[in-house]
């Protein structure tokens, strides 16, 4: 019990220790799991950040990747735009000038040079002109800008108006860009529709041509006329394309130009404003004495900022001005190069665009002049301020030089030293002197100033006169330009109407000519058809009659020939028939004999086959005899003996076959041994002990394997061993029948063992007997057939 208790206690202790260890491991694992969790979170977060950074960097490098990602996940596009800025394709859409430059480069070669040269050769273009008329976009409302006057008093108001107009103009180009695009699309749509119309017309015409191809001569001339028409239409189509292309180009250029000019004007206005602002701020900063120190410093800061803005604005204005001038030059170059001899609407368009360009250039120059005026003002102000500064300094110096003892105001204020009365008096006296001096100078200046003013007025008047003259000249020049343009317009208008008239007349003439031609051709065709029909009929008649005569002669000759041939052949045929009959009879007799012999031979062969099968089998296996028997039956259907003997073959042999004698002999050895071993066993004595005894007996009994059976047999002397010996002997000597007879004498268990063998032996004997009978009959038949020969 104690031991048990001790054991239990120790076991309990072990268990507790194990549990503690397990729990310890668990806590460790818990903490481990928590630590592992945070670690995994950190790692996951790091991987995610790396993935994001990698995608952004790759998007920056490869715009295709960026496009794909934006297509698949639009929210990411906003992230990309924030981080990387808008994609290049977006920026490209917003900069039209580059695109237009590229367009000019590509298109300036083809449509302006080659096809238009071809179009000079062609006479008429009616439909395309109508189409192009429909596609001319509205004129740019540039004339609004020609309002502002050069007077400086209205400068600000005009600037504001100008800015508004510029903004409108900006809007209009942007709006125009859209309708222009739409119209471009319309043009491009109209172009294909026109081309489709033309092609359908052509197709109709070509189909008409095809239907009329059946007729004869007029086709050629029709085809020629149609071909020319086709060529004309093709050229018309080309012209439409060219005109549309040039108008598109001009629209594009105009848009760019207007945008650049408005930009330049706006920037120039801004520059002028900036300059004005700067000068005003400077003036207030200088003149405002009442302001405190901090306010002053602020004001001076404002001045500095204004100066920076002014400089920047000026630079921008310069750049934009240059850009606008470039654009204008470009468009003028293109306008000069466009050749619009045949396309009056295009010419009209060119004229309009030229006018607009001129207006825009005028406005640009005005803005530039305004800026320059402001710059001059600023210079004046600067000089004024410099003078003031100089005066201040001079006064300061005088003050210090006259009264060097008295320190400057701030120092005095600082030290708080009181100035003496003398010094005060001296200072006041000096001041008074100074004031009187200044008053004298002022009066002198006033008088001098009046004179100078008169001089300046006169000079300015001269300048103004010159300026006015120049303006008048410019105005005149402008009016002349306008008149010239009007004149050109009218000329183009007249030309167009004239061309339209001529085209219409020519068309009428062409259609009349074509009608006349078609009538003449149809008449001639009818005449020719009648003539040829008559000719064909007469020739046909003649040919027919000739042919009939010839046919008659031929038929008669043929009939005579065939009659003679028939007689000859009849004779020969009868002779042949007689001969054939004789041969037939001889052959029939022969055939009968041959048949009989053949059948006999076949029968003998079949019987031999049967015997062979019985003797040898299929390497020992039983072969069904059904096929051989049917062969025998087939050969000799009507012989009774054969039928009887083939029926006598046992059915099991027919279906399953028989074992050969060899096999039976071989198997009998084993069977004999087994019979010896169970020799004592029978129905009454069949316990295991008897089996053992019989086995023992078989071991101990000495009996020869084969014994020659005596001629007389004593039935009591037969026992298993002797029977087996006799049977072996008979089998070895080929006497299966006798062996079977001996084996039949067994009883009891040996009999049971041997039963199967005996059955097979009987079967074999029966079959062999029947087959031998068949063979004998067949031999007899063969002999009979031989004798018949």
């Amino acid at each position: 019990m104690l031991r048990l208790g001790q054991k239990a206690a120790s076991r309990l202790q072990n268990e507790v220790q194990a549990n503690w260890i397990r729990s310890g491991r668990r806590t460790l694992s818990d903490s481990q799991t928590s630590a592992g969790l945070t670690r995994s979170i950190i790692v996951g977060g790091g991987l995610f950040a790396c993935a994001c950074g990698g995608t952004v960097a790759y998007a920056k490098v490869s715009p295709d990747f960026r496009k794909n990602v934006e297509k698949n996940a639009p929210p990411i596009a906003t992230v990309f735009d924030m981080v990387l800025g808008p994609s290049r394709t977006e920026i490209k859409d917003k900069i039209p000038s580059d695109a237009f430059k590229s367009k000019i480069k590509t298109k300036s070669v083809d449509p302006l040079k080659a096809p238009l040269k071809d179009s000079r050769k062609v006479l008429e273009t009616t439909e395309p002109s109508n189409a192009v008329e429909a596609t001319t976009p509205p004129n740019v409302p540039a004339p609004e800008i020609t309002a502002p006057t050069p007077a400086e008093q209205q400068g600000e108001e005009n600037q504001s108006l100008l800015i508004q107009n510029m903004q409108n103009n900006e809007k209009l180009p942007s709006d125009e860009a859209k309708p222009a695009d739409q119209e471009e699309n319309q043009v491009s749509d109209v172009k294909p529709t026109q081309i489709e119309e033309v092609t359908t017309q052509k197709e109709q015409q070509s189909s008409n041509i095809q239907t009329s191809n059946v007729e004869t001569e007029k086709n050629d001339q029709q085809q020629i006329s149609l071909k020319t028409e086709e060529r004309i239409l093709q050229q018309e189509v080309e012209e439409i394309a060219d005109a549309a292309a040039t108008s598109a180009i001009l629209d594009d250029l105009l848009n760019a130009c207007s945008i650049a000019c408005s930009n330049a004007i706006l920037l120039n206005v801004n520059a002028a404003n900036a300059i004005a602002l700067h000068s005003s701020i400077l003036r207030t900063a200088n003149d405002d004495f009442a302001a405190s120190a901090t306010e002053k410093s602020l004001q001076w800061e404002d001045v500095a900022h204004a100066r920076d803005d002014m400089n920047k604005a000026q630079i921008e204005a310069e750049a934009s001005f240059r850009n606008a001038i470039e654009e204008l030059a470009k468009i003028k170059h293109v306008l000069q190069e466009t050749n619009c001899e045949n396309n009056h609407d295009l010419g009209q368009r060119v004229v309009d665009i030229g006018r607009d360009c001129m207006n825009m250039s005028h406005d640009l120059e005005e803005a530039k002049a305004r800026v320059q005026g402001k710059v001059l003002e600023a210079d004046v102000l600067k000089r004024y301020l410099e003078d003031i500064e100089k005066m201040k300094e001079k006064f300061q110096n005088e003050f210090e030089s006259s009264l060097p003892t008295i320190s400057t105001e701030p120092e005095w204020k600082r030290t708080g030293k009181r100035v003496s009365q003398d010094e005060e008096n001296a200072m006041l006296l000096h001041m008074q002197h100074r004031v009187e001096e200044l008053q004298r100078e002022l009066s002198e200046e006033r008088t001098l100033g009046a004179e100078r003013l008169d001089e300046v007025v006169s000079s300015v008047r001269a300048e103004v006169e010159d300026h006015v003259k120049k303006l008048a000249e410019l105005d005149l020049h402008k009016r002349l330009e306008e008149q010239r343009l009007n004149h050109e317009e009218q000329v183009t208008e007249l030309q167009r109407t004239h061309d339209d008239d001529i085209r219409r007349q020519l068309k009428r003439q062409a259609s009349a000519h074509v009608e006349h031609m078609s009538e003449a051709l149809s008449y001639m065709e009818r005449q020719a058809a009648e003539k040829y029909e008559k000719l064909v009929e007469t020739t046909m008649e003649e040919q027919k009659s000739e042919f009939l005569v010839m046919m008659e002669a031929e038929r008669a000759a043929n009939e005579a020939k065939t009659a003679s041939i028939i007689d000859k052949h009849q004779l020969e045929l009868e002779m042949a028939i007689a001969r054939v009959r004789g041969i037939e009879q001889a052959v029939d007799g022969r055939a009968h004999v041959e048949n009989v012999t053949r059948k006999a031979q076949e029968l003998s062969l079949a019987c031999d086959a049967l015997l062979h099968t019985i003797k040898y089998g299929d390497k020992g296996k039983p072969v069904p005899l059904a096929t051989e028997l049917t062969t025998v039956k087939k050969v000799y259907d009507d012989n009774n003996a054969l039928n009887v003997f083939s029926a006598a073959v046992p059915t099991e042999a027919v279906e399953r076959g028989v074992y050969t004698e060899e096999i039976l002999r071989a198997s009998f050895r084993r069977i004999g041994k087994i019979c010896r071993r169970v020799s004592l066993v029978d129905q009454n004595r069949n316990s295991l002990f008897v089996y053992f005894l019989s086995y023992l007996k078989s071991l101990l009994t000495v009996s020869s394997a084969q014994l020659a059976p005596p001629t007389e047999i004593d039935q009591s002397a037969l026992d298993v061993f002797t029977i087996i010996s006799y049977s072996n002997y008979c089998l070895d000597h080929g006497n299966l029948e006798q062996a079977a007879r001996f084996v039949n004498q067994l009883t009891g268990e040996p009999r049971r063992v041997v039963e199967g063998w005996l059955k097979e032996a009987r079967l074999l004997l029966e079959t062999r007997q029947a087959v031998e009978a068949l063979a004998t009959v067949s031999k007899g038949l063969v002999i009979g057939a031989q004798l018949e020969k």
């Binding site: 029926a647 096999i663 198997s667 087994i674 129905q683 029948e737 199967g756 005996l758 007997q769």
Partner: protein, 118 residues
Amino acid sequence: MSNLPSVGKENEYGKNIDKCITDLAIKVGTGVIVGGVFSLLFRRKAWPMTLGGGIGLGMSYSNCENRFRSHYVDGFRLKPKPNQPPSVEEIPDVVEIVQQSTDTPSNSSQETTSEPKS
């Protein structure tokens, strides 16, 4: 020997002997094992094993005997004797067969063959 087909029941003796031997081995072995298991309960004595072996031997002996006897004894009753081969007198004449099959005795008399020796 192995190529020879078995005509009848000559192989049955050998098969029965084989079955007896295997049966003996299995039963004796099983008996010994069961006896051994029981011997563990009886303080490691040998007699349960011999008892088991003996029971096995006896069972296999009786099985074997019944197997060999099964053709003669059905449980404890004798089976009826099998058919004897037909006696000589019962085998019919070929001539009679021929006469029965054909209706023309003249043809049959011409074509009769030798009688089979029985």
